[in-house]
Symmetry: C2
Subunit: 207 residues, 2 copies
Amino acid sequence: MQSDVSMPVVRRLPRYYRFLGELKKAGYTRISSRELSQRMGLTASQIRQDFNCFGGFGQQGYGYNIELLQSEIGRILGLDRLQRLIIVGAGNLGRAIANQIAFEERGFKLIGLFDAKESVVGQMVAGMPIRNVADLDEFCRAELPTVAVLTVPFDAAAAIGDQLVKLGIKGLWNFSHYDFGNRYENVSVENVHLGDSLMTLRYMING
Amino acid sequence: MQSDVSMPVVRRLPRYYRFLGELKKAGYTRISSRELSQRMGLTASQIRQDFNCFGGFGQQGYGYNIELLQSEIGRILGLDRLQRLIIVGAGNLGRAIANQIAFEERGFKLIGLFDAKESVVGQMVAGMPIRNVADLDEFCRAELPTVAVLTVPFDAAAAIGDQLVKLGIKGLWNFSHYDFGNRYENVSVENVHLGDSLMTLRYMING
């Protein structure tokens, strides 16, 4: 885990990457930090501070070159070096993720999909068969994935996490509601709490 | 939209609610702000500051009553007053959300599911038929949903959003990659950018 840059700054990098991609798609080639900040709802000085954590990307008098800036941020994120990824839990959510997430544009290559339910093993999802979770050890020893998406139920999460970490997994994208806390050393856990997002929306509506 | 409390504080409320629920499930009845802070990776003074935004919840010398605190936070979030919700876009992600999100525990009641694809209209998901998006106006005028989950493609998001807002929708849970910015007044938009979360994980792994 990289620790030289603070997590709030790190969390803004994907947003910059995404915004710059949209600007590029819309045909823009250059943008000033002021323009970028207005579009993103940040201050220009915030953006310059963030970019200075990575050397500044040398804004010229007439702004940043959008394509260069985006590819530089992508390189910092590691998007140019694909990590091998598996999905454990091939229910609705695991399948949606397999089918809809553009892994190769986000720094990952999906290489396997696992489920505990015998009845779904062998079904094709995203061009590959769902494998039996009983074959997880063998698969990981042969294929060496480094990252796992956890779309398993709460009660299965800790045991599967332990097993995966023993097999060399260095990152967990955790959709289960299980809280790994500091259970593992040297493993990055990114939690997705959709329920928290939904409750935040409920608060904002105020009715 | 409630604006008296800052968004970072608001975003921590669902986390408190979730942690307290887990403590309750594990059989605890009281907890001090120090204990709660250790479990959540916050400082005790942060927690007290957050709670003071809502009157403090009167911690006694021997801590908070977990059940009371959770139900009070739930009430602040609005979880006791269900908002009527529809899902627009019944692909993999829309179906996963319909099947796996515990809406009624999060302040919402799922009342309808829509898709533009004729071939899926009529299929049953989460105990209700997928409706034709062409019937959205009629349905909304009769059933008065206040919130919509947007699981439509990027190119469809703005038009569907405009239509929904005209029909009285006050909140959007936006999974499309479309950025609504300040397109609507008095409509709360909660964006879920799974790709940003995944890129953050890619950065953390650092390989």
